[in-house]
Point group: C2
Chain length 228, copies 2
DNA sequence: AATGCTACTGCCAGAAACTGTCAGTAGGCT
DNA sequence: AGCCTACTGACAGTTTCTGGCAGTAGCATT
């Protein structure tokens, strides 16, 4: 197997394990000696892969993804730039920061002329400044990703405060507000919750009993709202 | 020089030339024999680089960019996905298609579990369906990129049709409309033009005498509208 | 039609890089 | 203290890469 392919295989193998893996195991799985494995790890790290190794423990890959080299057309780059810019402007603080970071990473590897074009791009996003949310939406996104139940304290239209347990499966970014879509245990039905009306919430340890994707599909069928 | 670095150098060299370059020239610039250069070209092509070679002509790199391998965090991937999705939904047809393509390319190289998460992502974009434009905005974007003058036939608020020559330097995507920002020769000042009020336009061969970036900066200073 | 320039492929020997083995240092866990 | 682990250096064998050569074929100009 060619070296470059082997490195991708190694990365894939590392991803499979959630706990630290010893170099010996990785070496056997990729069919290579331990010495070479150490060299491969070093090679991946020098290319930006976030692999951490500790003596007595093993290797672990920080969550995230390594993209192999790929080609984007001018339009595609422009779309990525514009999209990231919109994210940076119209979503919650943490996701916005991630959008800015991603943009910076891409800009760093583009030729100088194109980098300048990005800094002062031909495409501009104009959106009303979004309303601020008290709730930490990055936490909510994590709950959605990991399919965790959420204990929600919510103020409805009339200002009445209620507490309920929900199964959040999607987060919608609309022109001027963020909406959490969830199954509501209280109502035994799908409910939408505006982020700016959330008084407080806590992510519970318990996973909800259904798959997020299935919930989203069912909701889509019921509500008939396009969301692609 | 390591092979992988050399390939990136070759790509960079290819970008510098706008006309077809012979393999011999490229071989000398990258400090390698002609035979090896042919191998390098083949290697780049197999990695997705859009390099075209014709006997008797030379090599030419189609516009676009090759991203080297790089690492994105979970949040950054999510930001890119959400951004592309917004682009696919809220901009003109061609840019929207580019956004979808870029998303597909990224999805194709992510591990299966993550691909599924993208298909039915935890983040959803909700935007009012945009109004349709008669004008082909991809042409306008190209005019902006190449700093070409544009002959514009425009209907103003009162429905009065006028024709003027403008120097377009930016395209803004707002909640419900697209706005072309330009220097207007008729008024000798900056003007905004709503895309849905454009009756017709033609990209002229003549380049306008100022740099797009400079115009954008000046406009920004004058209007004081944040656009980052 | 002829000539010159070019892309592209196969072959082979020398050069370079990679790989495995061995030995040794150092940090974390029980 | 003992075990597991990451990590580094040295060296020989192996593999891959590279350059030169020869040959085929497409494009443009004369």
């Amino acid at each position: 197997m060619a070296r470059s392919e082997r490195l991708l295989t190694l990365l894939q193998t590392l991803r499979r394990y959630r706990r630290p893996v010893s170099g010996a195991v990785l070496a056997e799985e990729t069919g290579v000696s331990l010495r070479t494995l150490y060299r491969d790890i070093a090679s991946l790290q020098s290319q930006g892969a976030m692999i951490e190794g500790e003596p007595g423990i093993g290797y672990i890959l920080k969550p995230g993804f390594m993209l192999p080299p790929m080609m984007f057309s001018q339009d595609e780059i422009e779309a990525l730039v514009l999209g990231s810019r919109w994210v940076a402007r119209a979503t919650d603080a943490r996701l916005a920061a991630a959008g800015t970071d991603a943009l910076a990473k891409i800009a760093a590897v583009l030729p100088a002329e194109m980098r300048e074009a990005i800094d002062q791009a031909a495409v501009v996003v104009g959106t009303r400044r979004i309303t601020e949310d008290k709730a930490d939406l990055s936490l909510m996104r994590k709950a959605i990703r990991t399919e965790r139940m959420v204990q929600l304290t919510y103020g409805d239209v009339n200002g009445a405060i209620s507490t309920r347990r929900i199964w959040p499966f999607a987060l919608g970014y609309f022109d001027n507000s963020r909406i959490i879509m969830a199954w509501c245990e209280l109502r035994q039905d799908f409910r939408h919750f505006r982020a700016d009306r959330i008084v407080d919430f806590a992510v519970l340890e318990a996973r909800y009993p259904r798959r997020r994707v299935a919930l989203a599909r069912e909701w889509q069928a019921k509500e008939g709202i396009a969301h692609t």
